[in-house]
Every structure is written in structure tokens, then in C-alpha cells.
């Protein structure tokens, strides 16, 4: 009789550990890689935080790629915090990598966004690194097959998106390919959301042109395929986050698929983010669900958006306070060549949630 409760506890613990594992975005901890770690020897790969063994192996065989991937981790965090700065959930918990709270551990809408953004960012960063010549293993993207348009010609250095997608997916999807880690539903969800991120990146490839004619005229325009800036890709994914679809894991034929929970007559679209678990409102601090709450968050009194005081503070009200801001003012350019400014102080009124 006494032995039974212990067995039950052990089972519950193992189950929780299993379902909670989300190795897919632990590699974002690379953003904390110290600059002293030169990443020029294969032994350095073991010292990196947040990697599964397949990623460590990739590190050893593609050592020249790792500096770019470390940079990608930093960019992903920056892009996420920037995209969600005006929301209750502001992606601050991403800094806790690799030991996330439940807002990113569980199959939430928020984790869906982070999986997509991480996949897009690593591919974006690698593609750009090819263009800038930072990666010896790749160079400019291919010349497109379609004609460039009247008066234009292909030239310049295209972002190497195909290489970025290939190597990016290899690295960021590696944790989801490991057997016996996490539930099948979680894996499917994460792989799907990562693919959505890469799809958004593919959609951001556009034709860019420059005038190369004599004396700056536009008699000849050289064009190339370039990716949009990462913040634009992040903004696109945020739109998809806002319209993400809740799914369940349901048997269809001999296999199980993710299908929309409320509209189960249609399959999941390739372009939509999906999640398995609903999120809290993030109003109150609750460690159990990974909510920091909005107490002491700054809000915008004159806004009608998500950063407005009413929405950000969840109706609890807000407190005004005054802040002294020191700014540069009366700046003047002097030939040749420097700028002088004065320092001005002014008082601004700010509002924080109660």
C-alpha cells in the first residue's frame, strides 16, 4: 500500500518531465556565449549551452557556421522583444533560455511564435552571412530564372536563401527529430510552426535594384533577390500569432494529425501558426503558468492599442509619475567636421500599471 503512492508519484513526475521538454528553442541560449569562446576548435562545441547531441555534432562538422548561429540567437531574442514590446506578454521570458517558464515550455501560442521566429532568424542570418562573405562555405544566391524586367539586369549579390534554409533547418529542427523526447503532438506542432517561420522568410524574398548608370542616372538598373529585414519578418509572424489556430491531436487514417479544434472539417494550413494549449491573460503574476503579470509595466495613456493603459493594466488602473530626461539639444554641425550639442533636461510624465 505504501509502495503504491511512490510509484504513482514517480510516474507523474516522469510524465510531466516528458511532456514539458521543449529542446527545440533551447539553442537560443547561445546568445549568452561569452566572446572569449573563440569557437575555432571542435572542443568548444561541448561548452555551448542549450544544445542537444545532434546539434553538438553539427557544431563539430560545421564549425565555421557557429559564430553565425550564435549571432542568430541574439538576433532572434532582440526581434522577439521588439515585436512584442507593446503587449502584455512581451517575450521577456526568452532571456531565461535554456530554462524557460511554462509560457514557452508548453505548447502555447507564444511558444508557437518563438519557434517560428527562431527558425526564420537562423535561416535569415545564415543567408545574409553568405552574402556578406562571412561564411567560406557559401556565396551569393543563384541568378533567378525569370527575366528581371525592362531596363533591368541581374547582378549584385543575392541573399543565399536556399543555403540558409538548408543549414538553418538542420540545426534548429534537430531537437525535434530526436526519438523518445516529448509527445508526438508537441513535436508535430513545433515542426509545423518552425516551417511556418521558414515559409514567412521565403515570402520575404524580394527584388531589390540599384541604379548603376553613368553619373547616377537610371539607364541601367542592377537587380538582385534580397531578404527583407528580420524585424519585418517578425512583424509578419506576429500577425500570424494573433490569428493562430488551436489544434488537437486526432487520428486520421493510420496516423495522427493536428487538426483545428473548433473547425475540424479542414486541415491545418501551411501558413498558420498552431498551438495545443490556451494561454492565460498574462495580467497577474503566476509562475505556474509562466505569467510575469503587468504590475509596474509602463503603459501609454493616449494609445488605443495593446499598450494602452486600460488594456495593459487589465482594468486595474495606473499610477502617473514624473521622470527627468536628459537629452541632446541645439545640435549643430561644424565644418569640418564635428557636431556639438547642449544637454537639456525636461520632465516627462509616465504611467505604470497598478
Amino acid at each position: 500500500m505504501r509502495a503504491r503512492p511512490q510509484v504513482c508519484e514517480a510516474l507523474l513526475f516522469a510524465l510531466a518531465l516528458h511532456t514539458g521538454v521543449c529542446y527545440g528553442i533551447k539553442w537560443l541560449a547561445l546568445s549568452k556565449t561569452p566572446a572569449a569562446l573563440a569557437l575555432n576548435q571542435t572542443q568548444h562545441c561541448k561548452q555551448l549551452e542549450g544544445l542537444v547531441s545532434a546539434q553538438v555534432q553539427l557544431c563539430r562538422s560545421n564549425l565555421e557556421l557557429m559564430r553565425t548561429i550564435v549571432h542568430a540567437a541574439r538576433e532572434a531574442m532582440k526581434a522577439c522583444r521588439r515585436a512584442f514590446a507593446d503587449m502584455r506578454w512581451n517575450c521577456s521570458s526568452i532571456e531565461l533560455a535554456p530554462n524557460y517558464l511554462l509560457d514557452l515550455e508548453r505548447g502555447t501560442r507564444e511558444s508557437a511564435f518563438v519557434y517560428a521566429l527562431s527558425a526564420a532568424t537562423i535561416s535569415h542570418t545564415i543567408a545574409r552571412a553568405c552574402t556578406s562573405g562571412d561564411l567560406p562555405g557559401c556565396s551569393c544566391g543563384p541568378v533567378p530564372g525569370e527575366p528581371p524586367g525592362p531596363g533591368n539586369r541581374w547582378g549584385g549579390c543575392a541573399d543565399n536563401l536556399s543555403y540558409g534554409l538548408l543549414m538553418g533547418a538542420k540545426f534548429s529542427d534537430a531537437p525535434m527529430k530526436v526519438k523518445k523526447t516529448g509527445s508526438q503532438a508537441n513535436k508535430l506542432m513545433r515542426l509545423h510552426n518552425s516551417e511556418v517561420g521558414r515559409q514567412a522568410l521565403r515570402a520575404s524574398l524580394e527584388t531589390k535594384c540599384k541604379c548603376h548608370g553613368v553619373s547616377g542616372s537610371c539607364s541601367i538598373r542592377t537587380c538582385w533577390k534580397g531578404l527583407q529585414e528580420l524585424r519585418d519578418v517578425a512583424a509578419d509572424l506576429k500577425t500570424r500569432y494573433l490569428s493562430a489556430t488551436k489544434v488537437v491531436h486526432r487520428p486520421m487514417g493510420t496516423r495522427k494529425h493536428l487538426v483545428p479544434k473548433d473547425l475540424d472539417i479542414r486541415p491545418v494550413k501551411d501558413s498558420e501558426l498552431v498551438y495545443l494549449q490556451s494561454s492565460p491573460d498574462f495580467c497577474m503574476k503566476n509562475e505556474k503558468v509562466g505569467s510575469h503579470g503587468t504590475q509596474d509595466r509602463q503603459c501609454n495613456k493616449t494609445s488605443n492599442g495593446s499598450d494602452s493603459c486600460d488594456l495593459m493594466c487589465c482594468g486595474r488602473g495606473y499610477n502617473p509619475y514624473t521622470d527627468r530626461v536628459v537629452e541632446r539639444c541645439h545640435c549643430k554641425y561644424h565644418w569640418c567636421c564635428y557636431v556639438t550639442c547642449r544637454r537639456c533636461e525636461r520632465t516627462v510624465e509616465r504611467y505604470v500599471c497598478k
Binding site: 535569415h124 542570418t125 556578406s132 553619373s215 529585414e229 514624473t322 554641425y333 567636421c337 547642449r342 510624465e349
Partner: protein, 314 residues
């Protein structure tokens, strides 16, 4: 009551803040130089860099500062690109159509390294354009889109204003010779002119007409020799009409007397033949003979200047 109290507190804080801020207004100026943090630009590719202006960027090497920002304000992303695009503008600089031409062009091609981009003021652009656009038009080149003055800020303390254009003229103004009539004396100079011209023809001139601000040279039917055909067809040479852009009111010694033959260079622009250089044909001139004979052996530069004219005599 609470709201009123809050308002009073806020008002008092504002007042105190204002009082406290007042003495700060008299503080010394702070100087701001180049910061290592990138301000904007691509998220991964090279952030803005601060580089020495290389010696082989002659457009800007003598501009008055030594370091430039890359990418520049024309979105050139490599030094090679800057050099290639800047080389087109060297001949204009040599023309000295405005004393601030270099200041203006280099503010875009090789901008100073500061913590923010410093653009030329609109008035600087307009002054240089007023001085140089007629000369460019004489050679068939419009003022380019990338230098349209509405792109630049109205004058303020943080843009580059006219620097040398205010200086009084060192000599009383003299009517300048037509740009197309400046004479190159050396064979090399002549061949450079031939490189930048679409066609070169030895011809006689029947008459000259005035057409708005231009002069029109009507070619005689006889004694015509096409030395460099370029875009001209045989039918084009039947009735040669050459336009001297902005050439109606400036002197041109070579054309004072129309007897004899002329060596004429020009460009074909939108179906019109523009004269870029005219010389009186002189069979005793060895330099001219050499240039005509070896025109096609001369190594024209890959990106040859958009126009070429004789340099100002010192």
C-alpha cells in the same frame, strides 16, 4: 479629492523640473564623434563603418576630412562601388562650375563619420546645381535623380551648408567661353575627348542658327568624313544638324569664321545630335593628326567619364 491632489503633485513636479532644468541650459557644448554602435541599417551585414578615404578616390581625397562612412549616403556598400560611381564625377569637379562642388558631392559619396548621417542642405544642392547643371546639359546629361535637391533637408544646424560659395569673386566676371569650345592641345587630351564622344566627324559648317538657348550648326553637304561612327548611320550624315546646348550666348572663337573644315565630336541623345567639342581642322597640327590616326588604339577607360572637357587654364 485624490485626483486633484495628484494633479497638484504633478504640477509641482513639473515646476520643480523646469526650475531644475533651467541652469542646465547654459552648460558647455558636448562634442559627438563616431560611435561603434550601429544606428540603423542591415541587421546582420556589416554595420556602418568608418574608413579612411583612400588615395585612389580622387573625387574626395582632398575634401578636407580623412574618414568616411560606409555605406555612404547613396547606398553604395563597398569601396569598390564608391570608386566606380565617383569616377564619373571627376571631370565635373575639374570644370569648377561651383566652388562647393566637391563639398556637395563628397557629402554623399564619402560622408563624414559622425554618430548620425549628415546630409547636404538643400541650399547647397541648389547652389551647386545652378552652377553645374547647365554645363552637364551642354553635354547632354540631365541633373541626375540621385541628386535631386528636394531629397535634402531644408537648411538647419545639422546639415552641410554652402561653405566656399559665399567668398567674393577673385576677379571681375568675364563671359566664359562655351564649354564645347574649350581647346585640348595634346594628342592624349584629344583622344580622351574622342573616347567620351559617341561620334567624331571632319566636316564643313554651312551656317549657324540660334534656337532658344542653343546654337544649331548646319553641316554642309560636301566634304564630310566620319572618323568615328558610333551610333550614326550613313543616312544620319546626309543632313548633319548639331546642337550646342546652352551655347547661344557664350563666345566660341573657332566658330567666328566658318571657312574651312572642322573636327567635331558629339553624342547622340534621344535622337538629337549634341556637339561636345569643336576644333578648327588644321592639317599642320601634329597633335590633332596623331589623335585622329591613333584614335582607336587609345585605351579608353572602362567607365569613361560622362563628359570630358579641357581643364581650366591656371
Amino acid at each position: 479629492m485624490r485626483v486633484a491632489g495628484g494633479a497638484r503633485t504633478a504640477a509641482l513636479a513639473l515646476l520643480l523640473g523646469a526650475l531644475h532644468g533651467a541652469p542646465a541650459r547654459g552648460q558647455e557644448y558636448d562634442y559627438y564623434g563616431w560611435q561603434t554602435e550601429p544606428l540603423h541599417g542591415r541587421s546582420y551585414s556589416k554595420p556602418p563603418q568608418c574608413l579612411d578615404i583612400p588615395a585612389d578616390l580622387p573625387l574626395c581625397h582632398t575634401v578636407g576630412y580623412k574618414r568616411m562612412r560606409l555605406p555612404n549616403l547613396l547606398e553604395h556598400e563597398s569601396l569598390a562601388e564608391v570608386k566606380q560611381q565617383a569616377s564619373s564625377w571627376l571631370p565635373l569637379l575639374a570644370k569648377r562650375c561651383h566652388s562647393d562642388t566637391q563639398v556637395f558631392l563628397c557629402s554623399l559619396f564619402a560622408p563624414v563619420c559622425l554618430d548620425r548621417p549628415i546630409y547636404p542642405c538643400r541650399s547647397l544642392c541648389e547652389a551647386v546645381r545652378a552652377g553645374c547643371a547647365p554645363l552637364m546639359e551642354a553635354y547632354g546629361f540631365p541633373w541626375p535623380e540621385m541628386l535631386h535637391c528636394h531629397k535634402f533637408p531644408l537648411d538647419n544646424d545639422l546639415c552641410i551648408a554652402v561653405q566656399f560659395g559665399h567668398l567674393p569673386a577673385t576677379a571681375p566676371p568675364v563671359t566664359k567661353i562655351c564649354a564645347q569650345c574649350e581647346i585640348e592641345h595634346s594628342a592624349d587630351g584629344l583622344m580622351e575627348q574622342m573616347c567620351s564622344s559617341d561620334f567624331v566627324v571632319k566636316m564643313r559648317i554651312k551656317e549657324i542658327k540660334i534656337d532658344n538657348g542653343d546654337r544649331k550648326l548646319i553641316g554642309a553637304q560636301k566634304k564630310k568624313k566620319l572618323l568615328k561612327a558610333g551610333p550614326l548611320k550613313r543616312k544620319d550624315t546626309k543632313k548633319l544638324v548639331l546642337h550646342m546646348k546652352n551655347g547661344a550666348s557664350c563666345p566660341c572663337p573657332q566658330l567666328d569664321n566658318l571657312t574651312g573644315s572642322f573636327l567635331v565630336m558629339g553624342r547622340k541623345v534621344e535622337g538629337q545630335l549634341l556637339l561636345t567639342a569643336v576644333y578648327r581642322w588644321d592639317k599642320k597640327n601634329k597633335e590633332m593628326k596623331f589623335a585622329v590616326k591613333f584614335m582607336f588604339s587609345y585605351p579608353c577607360s572602362l567607365y569613361y567619364p560622362f563628359f570630358y572637357g579641357a581643364a581650366e587654364p591656371h
